[in-house]
Symmetry: C2
Subunit: 323 residues, 2 copies
């Protein structure tokens, strides 16, 4: 029997999870991806072609493709300055063309997935045209992922609320994947720009509540300035539970590998980020989820989750080593 695993989120973190998991043939993978991106090539395509933003889908397809060499390079290839295509990526252009040819964004994704031997399904969380919005603690409303992600607002203010402009019904294929999952993996990813946009889809809360899947939240290794300043593990969980309901998260995976002092200092100085650490396990004595601490870091010039290490932890869950 294959194990159904669904990921929620997008960005380097989730793609690292998928990249690690796809090597295991016992897993049926589904990647639920938010489609509220409004950046660069993707934003322009969204404006000019009237299709959903292709960028996140493109990156999920790359992560799940059997061929990670040339396909990845081709999909992520961005035309240089000096011509009128400058700034567009091949992956975005392919998805735009296939959406037009097949007449639907979802069929376009399917064709692209077939063409590049994708292991698993890439599912846009909603097929409605939405934008992410947030409200800061002083009441300021900010619309558009671009504006939130690299804050043009006062980044010292807390985010109080997130919403989808124009609503956004949960895609029925996303619902199906969630309900039939054995494991739902949330994150890792930027809390408000990568994870919450998925959770905001109308019907997401019900789908997660209906699902009997074990739900694992992979907590960020570092905070993000303007989104999760000074956040502790429980703060991340609280925000997620605000949108999906309490007692849904079963496990929270937290990195416990040490990170070099120099790198921490660099992150502090350049990006105003700091490590997310559990200082006292006693604080978690009465929470309805279980904390799993592991070395999941891939530390080189920057700090990120390691696909192999994450994959190993997930298989420890599947094989019953973590209970």
């Amino acid at each position: 029997m294959k194990v159904n695993i669904t990921t929620i989120g997008w960005g380097t973190g989730t793609f690292n999870v998928l990249y690690g998991l796809k090597k295991n043939e016992n897993y049926n993978l589904a990647a639920i991806v938010s489609v509220s991106d409004s950046w660069g090539s993707t934003g322009e395509i969204r404006d000019q072609f009237g299709i959903l933003p292709p960028g996140d889908i493109r990156r999920a397809i790359v992560a799940l493709s059997e061929d990670t060499g040339i396909v990845r390079k081709l999909f992520e290839y961005r035309f240089n300055a000096g011509n009128r295509i400058a700034g567009h990526t091949i992956g975005n252009l392919l998805l735009t063309a296939l959406t037009d040819i097949t007449g639907s964004f979802e069929k376009g994704i399917q064709e692209l997935s077939d063409m590049f031997d994708v292991r698993g399904k890439v599912i846009p969380v909603t097929l409605d045209d939405t934008q992410l919005g947030i409200i800061l603690e002083d009441g300021t409303e900010i619309i558009g992922e671009t504006n939130i992600d690299i804050p043009k607002h006062n980044a010292n203010l807390e985010i109080r609320e997130a919403f989808l402009v124009g609503g956004g019904e949960l895609n029925h294929r996303a619902r199906e994947a969630l309900v039939n999952s054995d494991y739902i993996i949330v994150g890792p990813g930027d809390l408000y720009t990568s994870i919450v946009p998925n959770l905001l889809a109308t019907g997401m809360r019900e789908a997660i509540q209906k699902s009997k899947a074990k739900m694992i939240y992979i907590c960020n290794i570092m905070t993000k300035y303007g989104e999760t300043n000074n956040f502790e593990v429980e703060d991340f969980v609280n925000v997620i539970e605000k949108y999906i309901g309490e007692n849904e998260i079963d496990y929270v995976l937290v990195n416990n590998a040490p990170i070099g002092e120099e790198l921490i200092l660099k992150y502090k100085q350049e990006e105003n980020k700091q490590p997310v650490r559990i200082t006292d396990m006693k604080l978690f004595a009465n929470v309805p989820y279980k904390i799993i601490e592991r070395d999941v870091v891939n530390e080189q010039d920057y700090i990120r989750h390691d696909p192999e290490k994450l994959s190993k932890v997930i298989s420890d869950f599947v094989e019953g080593w973590i209970k």
Copy 2:
């Protein structure tokens, strides 16, 4: 033992040949394609990216791809007006990106061919940057395929000479394919804009002379205004032999199926074209090649060669039914 078949030429005619032949698993196919195109998206890419023109290569890949549905549509997909990518085709953009990624036009073709399950090899006739030039009977010199193909010159004047601006050495892989061929198929295609540009490569004449392949020329069904006005079968052969040497062509395949009067009239009125016919076989009593007359036409709204019928004739050659 597989049969090695190499085609020379490009355009709808040659692609119809390839399309028909690829279904036979006993054939090792190689398509030698000229790279002097200077049209539209291809011309712009040539100018702005400094790579060889991708258009003809793209069409050959489509013709030889195992998947002729969505891949063909995707490759030939052209972005519409209303955005800054307008006019470019996906196939051209893919080849441009892969040429940049792999660092060579040939490797780019190879990757694209692998990606889309191409049966056989697509080989640019030369890797040098060339343009087609012609000299008319009044001495006028015209450079660039675009200018020759839809004549801005006096189309009633005969073409006296064709040449490649900047030379153009035969690609060694093209040479290898020709020398090792059992059959070399020339055309069908526009004589001066699709076939001759291949024959002009330095080393082509020697490669053909060295090859022991049977050489079949598939003659055009219709003349082309500004290129082959009033041409008879022997005129086509004479032009080809001018560039590859005499006695190289073994067979000339000529359509003998009737074409509707109405369609002939339409072609005459709209494009100044007329059918190429053999009126008297006695004229060919002493030529060094054999005329094969067959019904090879696919007549619908326009007149063109039928892939299945062409493929059937080629297999009659291979199986020894035509001697």
